[in-house]
């Protein structure tokens, strides 16, 4: 057993991949708890797709990929807010319009520069084992920024998430916190796109937190549990991908998905036994 666990660790790419995946899962677990409770899954997915335009543009221009992704994600987040406030278009529709547009821009760019195509596809579907040391430092730094900001505004964010009307009424800067949460979501997504890929980022944001939501009765328990579920999924997923030669991003997500359904069945069973429904 132990040698199976240790064997992959002799490779630098496996070490980096494992560390990166756990870091990403931890950050996603924290932000994901807000995403699940505030119903932000669709916008999370949208920001991830929108970041692809930035990834492709940065790649072609030789700029920093993470910076490109972040700028596009953030501009899309604020663009969605601006479009839905200005016109008759609903928030949902504004998300649909903007993210598909920026994603298409990314596809358009890579269709013109085919020599990069294979590299760029790693961002679409994730390739945690190709993460370099430099990537790892970037992910760690961005993760720390998210952690520090969530710690600084934790109570305010919790209040605004639970009861936005009363939070605003009592003098909490609700609008600012809304934008802060979107910006943090953007940063989190950017850290995660190389590990699991743009298409699957939302799963890492939502699935471990949704699993935690099934049994946690306090918000900080939900955060800790979703960090634990996410990190465990990341570790197990990478080992599975090593031994069974699977795509790493997909393996991580499927482990998380399986954990969700097992938990759903267990908690549903327990709720039936105790006769208590939370609905």
């Amino acid at each position: 057993m132990l040698e199976h666990l240790l064997e992959p660790l002799q490779f630098g790419f496996m070490q980096r991949g494992l560390v990166a995946a756990v870091l990403v899962a931890a950050v996603c677990g924290i932000l994901g708890s807000f995403v699940v409770l505030k119903g932000l899954a669709f916008i999370g997915d949208a920001l991830a797709h929108a970041s692809f335009g930035g990834v492709a543009l940065a790649f072609v221009l030789g700029a920093n990929i993470y910076l490109g992704a972040f700028v596009f994600a953030l501009a899309t987040a604020f663009g969605i807010g601006a479009v839905s406030r200005r016109g008759r278009v609903s928030f949902d529709t504004a998300i649909g319009v903007l993210f598909s547009g920026t994603f298409a821009l990314g596809i358009l760019i890579i269709s013109r520069v085919d020599r990069y195509t294979t590299d760029l596809f790693a961002y679409l579907f994730g390739d945690v084992l190709s993460i370099t040391e430099e990537d790892l430092w970037t992910i760690a730094a961005l993760g720390l920024v998210v952690l520090a900001l969530v710690a600084a505004f934790y109570r305010q964010l919790l209040f605004a998430a639970f009861d936005p009307t009363v939070a605003a009424a009592s003098g909490i800067p609700a609008r600012f916190l809304e934008y802060l949460l979107l910006a943090l979501l953007g940063v989190t997504i950017v850290t995660a796109i190389q590990a699991v890929g743009i298409i699957m980022v939302v799963a890492l944001l939502v699935t471990p937190s949704a699993t935690a939501y099934l049994f946690a009765s306090r918000f900080h328990h939900m955060i800790l549990a979703s960090v634990a579920v996410g990190s465990f999924s990341a570790l197990l997923g990478i080992y599975l991908s090593y031994y069974l030669d699977l795509a790493s991003g997909a393996a991580i997500i499927l482990v998380a998905t399986a954990l969700f359904f097992v938990t759903l069945a267990l908690t549903g069973h327990m709720r039936k036994l105790s006769g208590i429904s939370r609905e």
Binding site: R155, F162, T165, V166, A169, S170, R218, I276, R278, E279
Partner: protein
């Protein structure tokens, strides 16, 4: 006299319609005021305008003699309608009450012993101290209202605004909530409540505001609860029955609409 709330010439639009029009009244400190009127008559919008949650088209609002800024807002505790809250959120009763401490603290704040004591005291005041660790979703409607009231108390609010605190709450709990509000008023708080329960306002409140977009009447319940004024407020939606020396008001609209 010291004024808790002063409103002058207030116009508020909601969904591009004028919801509150030309409203002027002021509430003395320590009063208990019931705002009554038909659905769509602007009761909730008026409370939201006091809190600065909906933009005013025209007019002024003062809280304890100050304009509605962040400092003034801390002195106002707001209990929203039940539908506005996600009751499956993973927080305990104590967590919710502790949120009342947040407006007056800094970043990276951890609750101090005093914050915890204020939260516990607020839970005691509303009679929920035994249930501090229970998730908010597991309480009845009346208990949830009391916990939200405790949050406003933990905030050390001087003025309490409650938006239909007894809608969807069973009758015994309704009385408990009104008794609780009465005792808070006795303790010096100003209490302003929107409600459909006219008889309760008549029995326990100092002042009643009859609102149908405009102020129809404002005064002591026994003075303003007349057939003429109530008919003017509710238009065709209210029937007034006189049985001997008792007056019974029956509303023919759906309360939850």
């Amino acid at each position: 006299m010291d004024r808790a709330i002063g409103i002058r010439d207030l116009d508020v639009a909601y969904d591009r319609r004028l919801a509150v029009e030309d409203v002027t009244f002021s509430v003395p400190r320590g009063a208990m005021v019931g705002i009554v009127g038909p659905n769509g008559g602007g009761k909730s919008t008026l409370l939201k305008a006091v809190l600065g949650l909906v933009p005013k088209l025209h007019g002024t609002v003062e809280i304890l003699g100050r304009p509605v800024n962040r400092k003034a807002r801390r002195l106002v505790g707001y209990v929203p309608q039940r539908e506005d809250v996600d009751w499956n959120f993973p927080v305990s009763a104590f967590d919710v009450v502790m949120m009342g401490r947040i407006p007056s603290v800094k970043l990276f704040w951890q609750p101090t012993a005093r914050d915890k004591e204020l939260a516990r005291e607020a839970l005691r005041t509303v009679g929920m101290e035994k249930f501090a660790d229970i998730p908010i979703g597991e309480f009845s409607g009346g208990q949830q209202q009391r916990i939200f009231l405790a949050r406003a108390l933990a905030q050390q609010a001087e003025v309490l605004l409650l938006d239909e605190p007894v809608s969807g709450v069973d009758a015994p709990s309704q009385h408990e909530i009104f008794d609780l509000l009465r005792s808070l008023k006795e303790a010096g708080k100003t209490v302003i409540v929107t409600t459909h329960d006219l008889s309760c306002v008549a029995e326990r409140f100092d002042l009643a505001l009859l609102l149908n977009k405009r102020v129809v009447a404002f005064g002591r319940p026994e003075e303003v609860f007349t057939s003429e004024l109530l008919n003017e407020t509710y238009q065709s939606h209210l029937m007034i029955l006189k049985l001997g020396d008792r007056t019974i008001a029956i509303e023919d609209t759906n309360h939850d609409a």
